[in-house]
């Protein structure tokens, strides 16, 4: 039995379908993230689990018990709010002890458990301060402690780290993981920030426009994205357009402007048919660059095009090149070599087994349907 079982969850606000038939499970002890752009319905899902919104349809079961219709104060979940919502009129210790007080835990025990929680989040001795006297990172820890001290079945996070600067955010990420392991609690974490989600989660649920795009581990989503949206949203990706000229059980022939290339069937989305216009996606690290003068571009079994190096940036051990290709416009390549200079003629290639092919569907595209797609630096900033 899953700790949290969500099935057919739907929420309509008037004509707007904010959450559309979402199913997922969270197992005991897991760290699961719901990832999606703003307006994808991720916060609404969380608020329905917490009890602040009533679903239009669907069920939410916590430890096997249906909780839809129960008020928030009768659900064994605690939330870390986006703006933290620490009580300004109470001290840090009183904030943390608030949930225990509602359960009728005696004062001495409340004090003791608050102290222990403060130790857990490394804020020993902060109990008598007021929230306003703490820094942003310290307030985060108090909000976390206030939720954890109640030992709920599930802790919900509504993008609590989005207000922190990047360095502090990364630090809190590792802290979250440590605390999750130490307390052996189940976390359901909502964010639009793929960096946070990829770093901390056991599994991810990708939402877009209220619907589930894919559920899986970070590796699943990165290596085998179920849709162009997921490919684009998780990590960086190059997308070129093409057409399926032939399709059978083993392979498809795809013409992306450089002749028909055989692509394994496993790389092609199930709904693709012969004759369809398709997006061919490939990760920058799967793209190779070669000196145009020394290689022959008689590629009949790989995607290849000549082009000119536009820019180069170091990424630690790799270099990220933007190449203006003759066939597809700008393509990004992440390669080991740093031998290429701006303006140099190169040949860009990638192997057919590294692509993911999706039926063209302009509605699906986060960027509004441009054909030349430059991966953005991977940083999704605050909404």
């Amino acid at each position: 039995m899953s700790l949290l079982h969500v099935s057919g969850l739907t929420k309509e606000f008037g004509d707007l379908v904010a959450v559309d038939d979402v199913d997922f499970d969270v197992e005991d002890g897991e760290f699961v993230s719901i990832l999606g752009p703003s307006g994808s319905g991720k916060s609404t899902v969380l608020r329905m689990v917490a009890g602040f919104e009533e679903p239009t349809a669907g069920t939410i079961a916590l430890e096997g018990e249906e909780i839809v219709g129960k008020p928030p104060f009768e659900r064994d979940v605690n939330m870390v709010f986006q703006d933290l919502a620490l009580f300004p009129h109470l001290t840090v210790a009183e904030n943390i002890g608030y949930g225990l007080k509602q359960q009728g835990v005696p004062k001495a025990e409340r004090r003791e458990r608050s102290e222990r929680m403060l130790e857990m989040v490394r804020l020993e001795g902060y109990g008598d301060r007021t929230p306003a006297e703490l820094s942003g990172g310290e307030q985060q820890r108090v909000a976390l402690a206030r939720a954890l001290v109640n030992e709920p079945a599930l802790v919900l996070f509504d993008e609590p780290l989005s207000s922190l600067d990047r360095k502090l955010r990364q630090h809190m990420q590792t802290e979250l993981q440590r605390i999750q392991t130490e307390t052996d609690t189940t976390f359901l974490y909502v964010t639009h920030d793929q960096e946070v989600a990829l770093a901390v989660s056991d599994r991810l649920i990708v939402l877009n426009d209220g619907g589930t795009q894919q559920i899986g581990t970070v590796e699943d989503l990165y290596e085998d994205p179920a849709s162009r949206f997921v490919a684009d949203f998780i990590g960086d990706v190059n997308t070129v357009t093409g057409r399926v000229t032939d399709l059978d059980d083993d392979r498809a022939l795809i013409d992306a402007g450089t002749g028909e290339i055989p692509v394994p069937r496993t790389a092609i989305a199930a709904d693709v048919a012969a004759g369809d216009d398709v997006d061919v996606c490939v990760r920058p690290y799967q793209v190779s660059l070669r000196d145009a003068a020394t290689t022959e571009t008689d590629a009949t079994d790989a995607f290849a095009s000549t082009g000119t190096v536009l820019s180069r940036s170091y990424q630690g051990s790799d270099s990220l090149y933007d190449v203006d290709t003759d066939a597809w416009g700008t393509v990004s390549a992440e390669v080991r070599e740093d031998a290429f200079r701006n303006g140099e003629d190169v040949t860009v290639t990638w192997a057919p087994e590294h692509v993911h092919v999706y039926r063209r569907d302009d509605e699906d595209r986060p960027d509004g349907g441009e054909t030349e797609d430059r991966p953005d630096g991977g940083e999704t900033e605050d909404e």
Binding site: G51, P71, V77, M79, F81, F87, H89, Y98, Q102, A132
Partner: protein, 277 residues
């Protein structure tokens, strides 16, 4: 055009370079015109001799004794309090309800309610005073006491609402969600989270209402008939017929009431805590 813009540029430069000094000068003027006369008045309440001449020849507590043994003055204070206390309670209740409604609900007439509640600040006191005499005493035939209390409520509601409303508007509703999330039901959430956070504003509004009501003269003068005078009306009558340093003593009483109210407000509302947020 260019002459005008160069003039405004010159003004701007002057303001920019002399802003701090000008601010100091303005503050000095305010202090001079407002507080020096008050300081003199307080000082004069200790003046010996029956006339208001400065400087006094001798200092004495005589006039405080006269005031405390003056039954008419003490009656005036009692009368004032019997009007101000109920008026304040009614005002705070109504202002809180108005502020709550404006903050929480969208309803037809919401903007009008806010304007109606604050309108009495703009309308000249004399106009409202005359109107209330005609309406309460004439048309409705209300008892004098009720008329005065209602007049005080009308006088104080705008100020109390203007003080209470911001506490509602700045109150973070997420705190109520957090409270419920942590296991407190609606009622406990109200007592433990909502009330403590809006209470300072309500107290401040109430103290302001009480101070205003205690000092209220114009409405009271119009609406009140021949009955016992309130303290401001009493002092007015004294000045007209018989100016003694006892008037200064009564003025000091007003000051003490006002200052006490401010101190009580500060201590009750933990202003230090609010300003730190």
């Amino acid at each position: 055009m260019s002459a005008l813009s160069s003039l405004s540029a010159a003004v701007e430069r002057t303001v920019h370079t002399h802003a701090a000094r000008m601010a100091t000068a303005v503050i000095a003027l305010v202090i001079a015109f407002l507080w020096i006369p008050i300081a003199v008045l307080v000082f004069m309440s200790f003046a010996a001799g029956g006339v208001l001449s400065f400087p006094p020849e001798q200092l004495t507590l005589e006039w405080y004794r006269v005031f405390l043994t003056n039954d008419a003055a003490i009656d005036a204070i009692v009368t004032t309090i019997t009007i101000s206390v109920p008026a304040t309670i009614i005002t705070v209740t109504l202002s809180t309800m108005i502020a709550y409604a404006i903050d929480r609900y969208v309803f037809p007439g919401r903007d009008w309610l806010q304007m109606l509640a604050t309108l009495p600040i703009i309308v000249p006191l004399v106009v409202t005073g005359v109107a209330m005499v005609l309406f309460f005493n004439g048309t409705l035939g209300l008892p004098e006491y009720v008329s005065v209390v209602v007049a005080h409520v009308i006088r104080t509601i705008p100020f109390a609402t203007l003080v209470i409303l911001p506490t509602f508007l700045t109150f973070d509703r997420r705190l109520e969600e957090a409270s419920k999330d942590l296991g407190a039901d609606e009622l406990r959430t109200f007592w433990q989270v909502t009330l403590p956070n809006i209470f300072p504003g309500i107290v401040a509004g109430g103290l302001l209402a009480f101070t205003l009501s205690f000092n209220e003269f114009v409405y009271t003068y119009f609406v009140k008939g021949s009955g016992d005078p309130t303290l401001p009306v009493y002092i007015w009558n004294q000045i007209r017929y018989n100016v003694t340093p006892e008037v200064n003593v009564i003025s000091v009483v007003f000051l003490v009431v006002a200052v006490t109210m401010v101190l009580v407000a500060v201590s009750l509302t933990r202003v230090d805590l609010l300003t730190r947020q």
